[in-house]
Symmetry: C2
Subunit: 433 residues, 2 copies
């Protein structure tokens, strides 16, 4: 733990942020990309008088990183770099992130802080069930764990049986694992007759890299007998170690000494109030090789209001709710599929699948929500179905501020695409069939 | 470069070794395994008066490591460990190697020294085409490269096309690669029309982890336009960084400040003179978590006599010639298949394959060497064949001190097992058919 930073008062933290933000803006201008922007917009560190002044700066997007590949964001000479990570992304064109030795050290410090926060200590055995190499999750956790003095097993991804053998032989207490591999490991252990609560010493599981629901957390905790800590990061911001849960596990503390956080409406790009869902925008405050200003992460989350009982002033992010790319606009209102999902999943009569269908009738947008009911509902009871339909409509309207048409359908009747649920069908765009 | 260590005079280096050896013997006795041995043999650091006194100590074998798995060789409390590597070996039962933070730092120093010796410098881009995780080759080179200040790309193994893309995009100058992957990459580049000499900036290739011949080195150098540096290490001795070539490339300097080297006859376990082939036996001189005393590596090599023009006093090992497990005894003489191979391959009329057949006739051991001639030989010329046969017999006798029967056979006529040449057939053991 770094009490000098983690337990700073809010005003001291913000003073530190402002100092670092000004330094970052000045430093960023050394890169070809931000240098051109600085000339274009006439912005330098001196014009940043308060943290709010960051809004004078334009956003940086993934596309900017792609266009400037490979060296457009570099602020130091190449001989000062010691590391390069690549993310190939889903669309093909790669983006590169460069690190100086100082960047690697600060990143390891942040990761050590995260692991310390979960309760991991020297004497613990940390098994890193994560791919190494260009993926930042492996080396990121690895360096943090060694920095903290954990006995680190660079186990890598896959090879379930060897993973279980290692956990047993070295009494592993802390793991880092992606959610889908955790679920897979549960199956393998069950097949092998391994009961982690009886046969292993696991206490803590750090899970991230893929979004996962509270339900997955509960399942993993119950099976392995661990506390699961949610981990958030992205390679553009070093990798893991951007935000992490504390033992209160009421959201992820974002390390505000290293990252300046904004939540914006993805349509208007204006800030949204605390508690409201929006796109996470991050500015590096302590990076030397490749600072990024107002980087649009595309990840949807919100700032959770209120203080954390752990005493850390660093604000808390809600778990990632999805990608801003999924947002749609209907009757002038921005809606994320996840908002619909949250309403539906809180209603016990709703089954496991639903679908949003957008259409245009007489030049008016319509939104239909098709909802599978659970197989515990007797579908011949029309009055009961009508009550459920009314309840769903009411609650969606209250959340979304538009009134969708709600259709109840039988369990397992909605189409699936390669086993994956299709959440949104937009018939309004003639090119999008 | 560490001139204080690398350019020490011989007597200063040996004084350093003796001091470290005594410290290592004392420290090792803290482990359960060496503690029991120290009581059994009455040996402690005080009885080590000279480097030769190491011969009072018994050897340590891979089987000892297996039997003591997992913690039998540990000299520190678990909370002082930060890393664990596992080697599963060919026979299944794993062995574990533990590292303190100091061990990791010293290992990174040794690797940085190796890379520096090849000419790599800050400003170079180092692409590590090596598996990460439990395999020590990946993280070993990675830490050394960062320590030296190279721009390190943790590319990992496989994915040839992405490797080539990375080399191109980031003007990679130094690579670490295993020989079989280098040969594979040559094929892929040829298919893609990539000419490394024209399209890439490669200068240096570090190759190790698998034994390879001088012929493979020449092919890789010619194709990639690089200088290939031979790398030697084993996970029991940290991993890579035990011995490495300097620009003279006349053998691998073994870092004698970190490893005490012996070459022994694998049958008698007595030391062999410099220049003679034998089994490499290593003692760690600078390891804290898990010292090893007189570890039998099973690797066959020799000390190359004479001084190196580079000025380093650390002695040079010949490239690894094979495994001592392959040794056989005939008429009381120890012979390695590689000795036979070296004689044969120096004779131009010999083709690419040969086979050693051992038999027992009237209680007398016999050794027959079947040799494919090259397809440039006109096999009907009996007098020519007789001359070749006589030459081979004479040279084998001079090297081995036994006289084998030599049979010349036609090209491609000797049996192969799954495409792999069978070098030794021993009919003397009735259980070994
Ligand atoms: Zn907290
Ligand atoms: Zn030399």
């Amino acid at each position: 733990m770094d009490p000098g930073v983690e337990l700073l008062g809010r005003s001291d933290l913000e003073a530190l942020q402002l100092e670092r933000l000004r330094r970052t803006v000045r430093r960023a201008a050394r890169s070809p990309f931000y240098g051109a922007r600085a000339r274009q917009y006439g912005i330098d560190g001196e014009r940043i008088k308060s943290l709010e002044d960051i809004r004078k700066l334009p956003f940086t997007t993934k596309q900017d990183l792609r266009d400037a590949y490979p060296y457009g964001f570099l602020c130091v000479e190449r001989q000062h770099l010691v590391r390069l990570h690549i993310s190939s992304g889903t669309t093909g064109q790669a983006t590169a992130v460069f690190y100086t030795q100082r960047d690697i050290d600060r990143w390891a410090d942040l990761m050590a802080r995260c692991l310390y926060m979960t309760g991991a200590r020297p004497g613990d055995t940390f098994q890193n069930l994560s791919g190494y190499g260009l993926f930042t999750g492996g080396l990121g956790f690895h360096y943090g764990a060694e920095r903290l003095g954990l006995l680190t097993i660079p186990a890598g991804a896959g090879n379930s049986k060897r993973q279980i053998q290692l956990m047993r032989d070295f009494a592993t207490t802390v793991i880092h694992i992606i959610p889908s591999f955790a679920l897979r490991l549960m199956d393998v252990m069950t097949e092998m007759g391994v009961d982690p609560r009886r046969d292993l010493q696991l206490k803590i599981a750090c899970m991230g890299a893929e979004p996962y629901s509270e339900e997955v957390r509960c399942r993993v905790e119950a099976f392995f007998g661990v506390e699961v800590y949610n981990s958030y990061g992205l390679s553009e911001m070093n990798g893991p170690g951007v935000a992490f849960e504390c033992p209160a596990r009421n959201g992820l503390h974002i390390w505000e000494d290293a990252y300046l956080v904004e939540i914006v409406d993805p349509a208007t790009l204006e800030p949204v109030p605390d508690g409201m869902l929006g796109e996470l925008v991050l500015t590096t405050l302590d990076r030397e090789g490749m600072p990024l200003l107002r980087y649009r992460t595309k990840d949807l989350t919100r700032i959770l209001p209120g203080d954390c009982p752990c005493g850390r002033v660093h604000r808390r992010l809600d778990r990632i709710q999805g990608r801003s790319d999924d947002m749609f606009i209907i009757k002038g209102v921005n809606i994320f599929p996840v908002q619909v999902e949250q309403v539906l999943m809180s209603i016990p009569e709703v089954g496991s699948n639903y679908r949003i269908v957008l259409d245009r009738e007489n030049n008016i947008d319509t939104m239909t929500v098709q909802v599978e009911v659970t197989d515990r509902i007797f579908v011949e009871d029309m009055r009961h179905l009508q009550r459920i339909q009314n309840k769903i409509t009411r609650e969606l309207k209250s959340e979304l501020l538009v009134t969708p048409r709600v259709e109840l359908v039988e369990p397992q009747s909605l189409p699936r695409n390669d086993g994956k649920a299709v959440r949104l069908v937009d018939h309004r765009n003639p090119y999008n069939t």
